[in-house]
């Protein structure tokens, strides 16, 4: 009997070794993805600065299509999750936020089944990033326009390009009038928050917010938060602009979209690793507790077996003596 318990103790110990290893791996990956995200800050500030300069110079009514807001008929919803599980409530939080958002909309049908009704469905376009979002949306019966999976542990800028290109094309063709992304914001290594962020039309305010959020609130790298990236205050009279202000503004707009998406992905990456680290830490702790209780049971059972044997031996000896 107690051999069986011994086997279980061994099993739990093996699991705790694995979860501990996964915790360490996730912690390293989290650091790395944070570093990658921080490397892109100068580019982000530069692009934003350029947008402001151009917006100030370009006085004509021609706002580039990506920056122009229009009445919303069709909304694109981008769900950003991970491909892999074992990350605690990381993915379910994104999904919960998305459902809350849907329920909060005026005219939202209450029963999940009616969400697929034609007139409701025609108002939305869904794009899934990550296998978890894909399988959730498919299970709920939403029609997915496209899904992007297998972006790996660290998203490269090239991997984001097709997403940005798709969004840009849809917006230009007026198939969507607004794009919202549900993703996880990396506040600190211990706290992540799910946010709904407006992607399109592009606005300088939401871009600035995203860029400022690259630096975590506490912990490592937090000191960069106070460092001011002074956006050049002096507006040079009128620089030469080639080929033309409108064209440059168009080009910068698509770059900004690409950049913002890249940041959302990077942040989701960092948050995924952070969430996994926490989940694995909890698992290791639980395994430790389990080993303790099992050891206690094991000792009790073993003692009981020994006592039983001794009783049998002495009883036998007694019987012989008589």
């Amino acid at each position: 009997m107690f051999q069986f318990v011994k086997q279980r103790i061994k099993g739990v110990q093996n699991i705790s070794q694995i979860t501990k290893a996964m915790e360490l791996v996730a912690a390293t990956k989290m650091r790395k993805s944070q570093e990658i995200a921080l490397h892109s800050r100068p580019y982000a500030y530069g692009a934003l600065d350029l947008l402001r300069t151009l917006a100030a110079l370009e006085k004509s009514d021609q706002t580039p299509p990506l920056l122009a807001a229009r009445p919303v008929v069709h909304t694109l919803i981008l769900l950003i999750t991970s491909d892999k599980g074992l990350a605690g409530s990381f993915n379910s939080n994104v999904i919960k936020k998305f459902e809350q958002h849907l329920n909060g909309l005026p005219g939202s049908p209450t029963s999940p089944g009616s969400r697929t009704s034609p007139d409701w469905a025609s108002r939305f376009v869904f794009i899934a990033v990550g296998k978890k979002a894909q399988s959730y949306l498919e299970k709920q019966g939403y029609t997915l326009l496209q899904s992007f999976t297998r972006t790996g542990d660290f998203t490269a800028p090239e991997e984001v390009r097709p997403v940005a290109a798709l969004l840009e094309a849809l917006y230009a063709e007026k198939k969507i009038d607004r794009a919202v992304a549900f993703s996880t914001h990396f506040r600190t290594a211990l706290a992540q928050e799910t946010l709904a962020r407006e992607l399109l039309p592009i606005s300088a305010a939401s871009l600035t917010r995203t860029i400022n959020e690259i630096v975590p609130e506490h912990g490592r790298f937090a000191e960069l938060r106070s460092e001011r990236h002074a956006l050049s205050a002096k507006r040079h009279a009128s620089p030469l602009i080639e080929p033309s202000p409108a064209e440059v503004l168009n080009a910068i707009a698509s770059h900004l979209l690409h950049m913002e998406l890249y940041h959302l992905f990077m942040e989701a990456n960092a948050s995924e690793h952070a969430a996994r680290r926490m989940a694995m830490k909890n698992a290791s702790e639980n395994a430790g507790e389990l080993v303790e209780t099992l050891t206690l049971t094991y000792n009790k059972l073993r003692q009981a077996a020994i006592t039983k044997e001794i009783t049998e031996i002495t009883a036998g000896a007694e019987a012989l003596r008589q």
Partner: protein
């Protein structure tokens, strides 16, 4: 002039340079010290930078932007070159 070259992934160059050569949509340009303010879009190509020490740097880039300000700084934002 102060020159900085950034991509989404990395800081490619930061420091003093005497000249930088790049290909804009309108053609090849070389920016020297105290160039007049300029904003231009870049075509994929290779940046040739001569730094303050006279050393040449060659940086392949994708599409991007060039911004020269009146304060004698130049900033290049570029994509990673496509393989």
């Amino acid at each position: 002039m102060k020159l900085s070259v950034y991509s989404l992934k990395n800081i490619l160059f930061e420091g003093d340079a005497t000249s930088v050569n790049c290909t804009t949509e309108g053609g090849e340009v070389t920016i020297l010290d105290r160039h007049e303010p300029l904003i231009a879009t870049l075509k994929p190509g290779t940046l040739t930078i001569k730094d303050a020490g006279g050393k040449d740097h060659f940086i392949p880039t994708g599409k991007g932007f060039l911004e020269v300000t009146a304060e004698n700084t130049a900033r290049i934002l570029a994509d990673e070159p496509r393989e």
